[in-house]
């Protein structure tokens, strides 16, 4: 599954960020991702040339001289950041996120919603249970830290689960570590259990 995701060309910031995080949390994926970039670099060397506009160099030089390299180091310490891939970490240092709390589960939107695409960071506290729900559209969930389990199995760091709207499950965060994950969704999440209607109103 990760091979499919990594080798699918992305066309949005959300899918790119998801792909980068996937490449980062797992050794094998990291190497696979480097291999793909090497292929791109190889073709860049081999490709034909298309001449540039005459004034492009002046523009480049002008812009380069006027831009200041901003530091991405921020001294403010948030222990949660330690568990995240570098890509996400540096993104979060610049773009503050607001957490929404649903009892033992915290959700933060990572990027502004665009074309029905969402990228969210989900923090499930140790032992917390997320009410039974299905997914409207597709959701790819990448475990960044800890693990969780549902009716179908348990999922550890670096694994990705792709779920479509006919998938109904009740995830539970690992009793000791809880679970932090990145959810890339096309469409809204739909709760189907006892309190489903109410939760649908809150979550969406």
């Amino acid at each position: 599954m990760t091979f499919e995701i990594l080798s699918t060309p992305v066309d949005s910031a959300a899918s790119l960020l998801f792909q980068r995080c996937l490449a980062e949390v797992d050794h094998e994926n990291r190497l696979l991702n480097s291999a793909m970039n090497e292929v791109g670099g190889y073709f860049l060397n081999k490709t034909d040339e298309i001449s540039l506009s005459n004034n492009l160099w002046d523009k480049v030089l002008d812009q380069a001289k006027n831009v200041k390299s901003h530091s991405i180091i921020d001294e403010e310490y948030d222990p949660l950041l330690d568990h995240l891939p570098v890509t996400l970490k540096s993104h979060l240092k610049i773009n503050k996120v607001k957490w929404k709390s649903f009892k033992d589960v915290k959700v933060a939107s990572i990027l502004p919603k665009e074309n029905n695409e969402k990228l969210e960071l989900i923090h499930v506290m140790p032992g917390a249970k997320i009410p039974q729900h299905t997914h409207e559209g597709n959701e790819s969930f990448l475990v960044l830290h800890g693990s969780y389990s549902d009716e179908y199995g348990s999922y550890k760091q670096g694994s990705v689960q792709v779920r479509s709207d006919d998938h109904n499950h009740t995830p539970v965060g690992h009793a000791q570590t809880g679970c932090i994950g990145l959810a890339y969704t096309h469409g809204k999440i739909k709760f189907s259990g006892k309190f489903g209607k109410l939760l649908n109103l809150i979550a969406n």
Binding site: R20, V39, Y42, W57, I72, E114
Partner: protein, 204 residues
């Protein structure tokens, strides 16, 4: 001017060019990179869907990143053309989708977290990337074309299957096989292990 033919035989001149930019903001080296990669990037960007004006805008942004973030380049992790390709690809997504500007600037720096300098081992690393180029050079043309469509023209597996009339499963397995080979070559290098363990200590 550097030609494709002597790229692999001598020490890659762009490794030094990037170093000169990082260490002493050397405009001559910057111009050398612009002259070589600019027209190639334009070709890459236009082949993967950008129009001329947008392609040049992306080149300008890419060059600015090269100028300001050259110190993030690590010759043990990627060849210069791979690093530049990756930055341009990310910038393309950013500009085409007109999402918030800050997002991908941070991802660019995160592609390759800085490691301790291994400048004296550059020749050895060049050999690693040379081996990858050699492997790709020797691939049968129809297989190389699949990789080119996937990672340079940014077509999905489905689109490639449609164009080539090769079954989807075969497209995927051929691309995967080639990537596994390249991954193996990347893995042969001890420094990749260092990178991984530094990454691991971060996520654990």
């Amino acid at each position: 001017m550097v030609t494709g033919d002597n790229m692999g035989k001598v020490k890659n001149p762009f490794v030094d060019a990037l170093k000169n930019i990082a260490e002493r903001q050397d405009i001559g080296s910057f111009k050398k990179i612009f002259d070589y990669f600019g027209p190639r990037l334009k070709s890459f960007l236009m082949k993967s869907g950008a129009d001329e004006a947008i392609a040049e805008e992306i080149i300008q942004e890419t060059m600015t990143i090269i100028w300001t973030k050259a110190d993030y380049y690590d010759s043990s992790v990627a060849s210069p053309s791979t690093w530049i390709y990756t930055i341009a690809r990310n910038k393309k997504i950013d500009i085409l989708r007109k999402t918030r500007k800050a997002i991908l600037e941070d991802i660019d720096t995160a592609i390759l977290p800085p490691l301790e300098s291994k400048a004296d081992e550059n020749i050895e690393h060049d050999q690693k990337f040379e081996m990858i180029a050699k492997y790709l050079d020797d691939l049968p043309k129809d297989q190389l074309d699949l990789l080119k469509m996937n990672f340079f023209e940014e077509k999905s597996h489905g689109e490639i299957a449609e164009i080539t009339k090769i079954p989807l499963g075969t497209v995927k397995s051929r691309i995967r096989l080639a990537l596994e080979k390249i991954r193996g070559k990347l893995e042969q290098d001890g420094n990749m292990v260092n990178l991984i363990s530094s990454n691991e200590s971060m996520v654990n």
